[in-house]
């Protein structure tokens, strides 16, 4: 009896191979790789260094924000304001630097703005019980309007004394010819993955998404964690905004418009569950990559750009469909 009990308790239910094979992220990654292989063969423009450089750099902005969004989605929330927050943070950076301040002050102001907005969202949601959808929908409108106020709705392309430094930060490739934004994305993804897997904070993020009431009863500081999560989400949008400003070399008040939906799609394609409790950092990256590969390939294959939305929407539905099929099988 004791031996069988020992064995039963010590047993792992599934090996790592089966758990990898049953993860949505893995299959999306397979899809990305297959698409890349197909495109390399079918077109002679895909596998060129120039095009790969473009793809990797283009998807980083969505991917970086998707990392923050994944945390929010794991807690069972949503942040619709990220596109506007990206715009506002870019604009704050641009206006401050345009006024002659150094890049450090510009970045500090921009990051401060992001944390302030995230903190506001978080406090309204965690302490006053607002639905995340409502508060962040309001913030979507507020942040973009504030960006227009800050810039008087003009395009800013002069960044004062540190102009070149900002452009190098976002547009350069300091490390083995890999675009800088890609490096930032990888570092942030590793950090997010580490936090989710190895820290108490990460464990609590999952616990809140799984059963918020249980988390409260067992002494998890639910409210504090929620506020932090929305601050991280806004911060990721702010960081993406700073990098994108450096990359584009100009800020308009319509950058990041509609980006929240791409970001949410990336997180969901990567396996984050909008009901909460599920999601990974690698999934956010892979989801964002799939969207960018689809967009890029449609262009290269000469398919009318109007079809883009259909393909990206189809990919989102398809990715979640696999997950649904699997859970139907499990419940039977």
């Amino acid at each position: 009896m004791a031996i069988t009990l020992d064995r039963a308790i010590g047993q792992r239910q599934q090996s790592w191979v089966t758990s990898v094979l049953s993860s949505q992220t893995f299959w999306v990654l397979v899809a990305v790789i297959l698409a890349c292989l197909f495109l390399s063969v079918a077109t002679d423009t895909f596998a060129t260094p120039k095009n790969l450089y473009n793809i990797t750099r283009n998807f980083t902005f969505v991917a970086i924000i998707a990392l923050g969004m994944t945390l929010v989605i794991i807690t069972g929330g949503i942040d619709l304001s990220v596109g506007s927050v990206l715009c506002l943070c870019s604009m704050v950076l641009a206006v401050v630097m345009n006024a002659g301040y150094s890049i450090e002050i510009g970045i500090a102001a921009s990051v401060g703005t992001a944390l302030l907005i995230g903190g506001f969202n978080g406090v309204m949601i965690a302490y006053l019980g607002f639905p995340p959808f409502v508060i962040t929908l309001g913030m979507l409108s507020i942040a973009r309007s504030l960006a227009m106020v800050a810039s008087n709705n003009t395009v800013v392309f002069q960044f004062g004394p540190d102009h070149d430094m900002l452009l190098a930060l976002g547009g350069g490739a300091w490390f083995f010819g890999i675009a800088n934004p890609v490096i930032y994305m990888i570092v942030l993804a590793l950090l997010t993955g580490f936090v989710l897997r190895w820290t108490k904070f990460g464990r609590y993020v999952f616990a809140i998404g799984g059963n918020e009431h249980a988390a409260t009863l067992t002494g998890v500081p639910v409210r504090r964690i929620k506020v932090t999560v929305y601050m991280i989400s806004a911060l990721s949008a702010g960081v993406a905004g700073i990098i994108q400003t450096g990359w584009l070399g100009a800020v308009t008040t319509n950058i990041g418009a509609g980006m929240e939906l791409q970001v949410i799609a990336a997180a969901v394609i990567g396996g984050a569950n909008l009901a909460g409790g599920l999601g990974t950092a690698s999934g956010a990256l892979i989801g964002a990559a799939l969207i960018e590969v689809i967009r890029n390939s449609l262009g290269l294959l000469g398919i009318n750009a109007f079809w883009q939305g259909t393909f990206i929407g189809g990919a989102t539905v398809l990715a979640v469909l696999f997950d649904r099929i699997r859970s139907f099988r499990q419940s039977e």
Partner: protein, 246 residues
């Protein structure tokens, strides 16, 4: 000396008198069934012992020392653990993660401390073994049977040296075979010298496992006697009011 002593405890919410002048004691290694109809004041008493509410009148003493709590976390610090009716489990986490929720083990120094998965899996496994429950620490709770879920919730109470375990309707929504499992888990706790308060509507379970039964009606204690000296018929009468008091 009694592990827990309630003396003349009352609780009112505005004009509503939820609990009225209730006194009783709990001894180590004793299982007490707390019975009563809906609204009789059972859960109000439990919530006071769990630190959710403060009594309006009266005192609680633990091992002779006065016990005043402001938050549920303090109850845990005093060695009072609660198994909630809904078990308060996160389906998306492993059994070990649920056992250690809010009390994760970590290793490392200073701010660079990471979760100690290995120790948590090992310790959770040891507890399941003690409970004689076939529950694997690495399994997700969402894949578990009702009995295993109960084991996870009960394993939580065994992390620290609990003195009192309050169980709110642990057998209300599970199968017959699983009820037997849960009653065995309660006996395991009792054998470790823990005082268990079992809140239940199910007469057979209370008579099966409890040493003593306390019956509440309309905020008052109407009976407090050894199981051996009572009968299901008597308790039913006390709950409904057919018997005034014993």
């Amino acid at each position: 000396m009694a592990v827990l002593e309630l003396a003349n405890i009352s609780k009112h919410f505005g004009a509503i008198q939820a609990v009225n002048d209730v006194s009783f004691t709990l001894q180590a290694g004793e299982v007490v069934g707390l019975m009563g109809d809906n609204g009789a004041g059972k859960s109000t008493i439990v919530k006071m012992i769990a630190g959710n509410y403060r009594p309006s009148h009266g005192t609680m003493r633990m091992n002779g020392a006065e016990l005043v709590m402001h938050r549920p976390v303090e109850a845990r610090q005093h060695g009072i653990e609660i198994v909630y009716q809904d078990l308060a489990l996160c389906d998306n986490l492993s059994a070990a993660a649920n056992v250690f929720l809010g009390r994760e083990l970590r290793r490392g120094v200073g701010p660079l401390r990471i979760l100690d998965y290995k120790s948590m899996y090992r310790r959770a496994g040891e507890i399941f073994k003690e409970l004689k429950s076939e529950t694997r620490p690495r399994d997700l709770v969402k894949q578990m049977s009702g009995g295993q879920r109960q084991a996870v919730a009960i394993a939580r109470t065994m992390l620290s040296e609990a003195k009192i375990v309050l169980m709110d309707e642990p057998t209300a929504a599970i199968s017959v075979r699983q009820v037997a499992e849960v009653l065995n888990l309660i006996r395991q706790l009792r054998d470790r010298g823990i005082a268990v308060v079992l809140i239940s509507h199910r007469m057979p379970d209370v008579f099966d496992v409890a040493d003593r039964v306390i019956v509440m009606r309309r905020g008052r204690k109407v009976a407090d006697k050894a199981i051996a000296a009572s009968s299901p018929e008597e308790v039913t009468g006390l709950i409904t009011g057919a018997i005034e008091q014993v």
